[in-house]
Amino acid sequence: MKQPTFLLDGMPVPFEEGQTIMDAAMAADAFIPHLCHHPEFKPQGSCKLCTVKANGRHVSSCTMQARDGMEVENNTPDLNDKRRTLLQMLFVEGNHFCPSCEKSGNCMLQALAYELEMLSPHFDQFYPDRPVDASHPDVLLDFNRCILCELCVRASRDVDGKSVFALSGRGIGKHLIVNAESGRLADTDFSLLDRAAHVCPVGVILEKRKGFAVPIGQRLYDEKPIGQQMERLAARTAKVEV
């Protein structure tokens, strides 16, 4: 039997039954912008950056199963415009000051802003007040940059079996919490060896004393734009990580 295929911006993409549009696109080296998706974890479908138009309907490509003959629009001015707006909202809701952030150059949010040519935040800054947590001996948490993608939540729960992280609050009050009555990371069983210590796409979960081991200018997305790193993005696992 012929392998099922869908069209991604006119390009035929083969897929296995049950695969999502995102998985199939990644395997075919085609870039669909995404933040909350990670090949190692169960799709979450919350950031909506991966929104594509499948047979005329807006869907999240990371949760939508591919279907034979489907026509998918991805890299279109209209969709990229919407994605840029989503990015702008993420930027203003947190405190993302790239020049002073040690994750600069390794940050997916920043890389996508370059990729999608986001030139200004457009909206008014929220300037939320979120104290950092430096209690842990090896790791610093800077909640100011959290985009609530729940990758650390999934990693800690599903891989580490610890549930160190969770979301609390709702709507604009939604925020990341840690598993301790004191609210301090030091009072959890979190360890630098956890999978959850290495999945944050932005600069929240930071290893202490390592910030500038690789100089800015020589980092992941300094070398090549994120849109040209499909192979690495698709290969992300516990062994090969950002």
């Binding site: 799709p43 609390s168 709702r170 919490i177």
Partner: protein
């Protein structure tokens, strides 16, 4: 009056465990009952202090972060102390048109309070909340979860006095808490005199396959907003394989009625609860479900005692439990789950998450609830009114129902009418009634705009169209 929360900081862990033990026992420390457990724990302490969350988490055997995550999600669960008297003004456009904002300011001024802040003595806090479903008798508010209606400057002043004197709610003037049905037009649903269980007996006499056929014939479409054909939903759940063991199907009644401006489900639950439960039981019989869950929005918690008493009565009368209505092999019971203030929990997959004791975040679909819903099992989620209509169909047949309304939209519909009209309340019409007729009947002269089907619906301005 010394609230527990004032001394909670001084509670040692043994005392804390003593206070929480009855709550945890009642729910057998099941993680799936977390929302209910948190609600009741809060009743004991006034709010949910960090030590209580830690204790609940370890009793349930779940990570503390999960418990805090759930507690932080719902508006009616508090991680910080709130006033011993918690006043929440319903903040809907209709309440505002009736002067709710002025009344809230008046109360805040009288009590020397800032909105949203607790008074220094911990006595009282005042804030707003989403529509409490009293648009036909506003301005409305909730005080410690009890619904108060028809507020006026005079009532507000009196309430301030009652609060200052720390008068127990039981001793407040009863008329503050009167909730009227305001049924203005009755048709087949609201008109008939019915005996509890009649619809169930009718469905049993037909047989489940024939009952489904009647549902198809009726062409009933869901009254919860999306208008999905009910028979298709029921058939899918009936045919779906149970993915988990033991194999159980579920019927969920969506009584979250969060859409600002709607209050018809409240009236059905208050005055036609037997019809609602009959409808759930008919659905259960048709799809082969063993359990029913009614998700009651937190704003309607005041309806709980009467609804629970009704379920007890039905159990005594053989309409719930083993061999419902004498039919051997048809075992079915209904449980009520209270929400805790979250509009999004009206969305069926968020509702199911909440039923499972989680944050009310919508699921990714597929799978849809009919194949993998509550606890991953086939689940039918229907609106209160849909289930009432299904009960009528069981009794009077699909063809009869399809003869009402229009070909596209069969049957009758309850409209919640409020705003600048002379007779706000519930109007039951066959589908196809014109907006003009509704305006005429409700006494809305010279209307400039009509908001159809709640805040999420559509607005109509100027020359109003003839058909709804």
């Amino acid at each position: 009056m010394m609230a527990l929360w004032e001394i909670v900081v001084n509670l040692d862990s043994g005392q804390l465990a003593d206070v929480l033990a009855p709550v945890l026992d009642r729910y057998r420390s099941e993680p799936g009952k977390l929302v209910q457990i948190l609600r009741e724990a809060q009743e004991a302490f006034g709010y949910l202090p960090p030590v209580a969350l830690t204790h609940i988490a370890s009793s349930l055997g779940v990570p503390r972060a999960r418990v805090e995550g759930v507690a932080g999600f719902y508006s009616f669960l508090h991680l910080e102390p709130v006033g011993r008297y918690r006043v929440l003004f319903s903040d809907n456009i209709t309440d505002r048109m009736l002067g709710s904002a002025e009344l809230m300011n008046r109360m805040c001024n009288k009590l020397w309070l800032e909105r949203g802040k607790i008074s220094e003595d911990g006595l009282v806090s005042v804030d707003t909340t989403s529509c409490t479903g009293m648009c036909d008798q506003g301005p409305a508010l909730l005080v410690n979860g009890r619904a108060a209606t028809r507020m006026s400057a005079e009532r507000i002043d009196r309430i301030c006095e009652l609060i200052r004197a720390q008068t127990l709610l039981e001793d407040w003037p009863g008329e503050y808490f009167t909730v009227a049905d305001n049924i203005r037009r009755r048709d087949v649903l609201l008109g008939g005199e019915r005996v509890a269980g009649e619809a169930i007996r009718a469905a049993l006499a037909r047989g489940s396959g024939a009952m489904l056929a009647e549902m198809k014939r009726s062409n009933l479409r869901g009254r919860g907003g999306a208008g999905f054909t009910t028979a298709i939903k029921w058939e899918s759940a009936r045919d779906a394989e149970c993915l988990a063991q033991p194999a159980v199907r579920y019927v969920v009644c969506n009584a979250d009625e969060g859409e600002p401006g709607t209050f018809k489900d409240r009236v059905l639950l208050a005055s036609h609860a037997d019809l609602v439960f009959d409808g759930m039981t008919v659905a259960a019989y048709t799809i082969g479900a063993a359990r029913g869950l009614l998700y009651l929005r937190g704003e309607y918690a005041w309806l709980l005692p009467a609804l629970s008493a009704n379920l007890e009565r039905r159990r005594r009368n053989g309409l719930l439990g083993a061999a419902v209505a004498g039919r051997a092999g048809f075992d079915f019971d209904i449980e009520i789950h209270l929400g805790a203030g979250a509009y999004v929990c009206g969305e069926e997959t968020a509702l199911i998450e909440s039923l499972e004791g989680k944050r009310g975040v919508p699921r990714n679909r597929p799978p849809f609830p009919v194949t993998a819903g509550y606890l991953g099992q086939p689940t039918v989620v229907n609106n209160v009114e849909t289930l009432c209509q299904a009960a009528l169909i069981a009794q009077q047949g699909g063809a009869w129902f399809a003869g009402l309304g229009t070909q596209q939209s069969t049957g009758t519909k309850l409209l919640s009418v409020s705003g600048d009209v002379e007779h706000p309340g519930i109007y039951e019409y066959p589908f196809g009634v014109s907006v003009e007729q509704v305006l005429l009947d409700s006494g809305a002269g010279n209307a400039q705009a009509v908001q159809v089907s709640g805040g999420a619906g559509e607005r109509r301005f100027g020359r109003l169209p003839r058909h709804a």
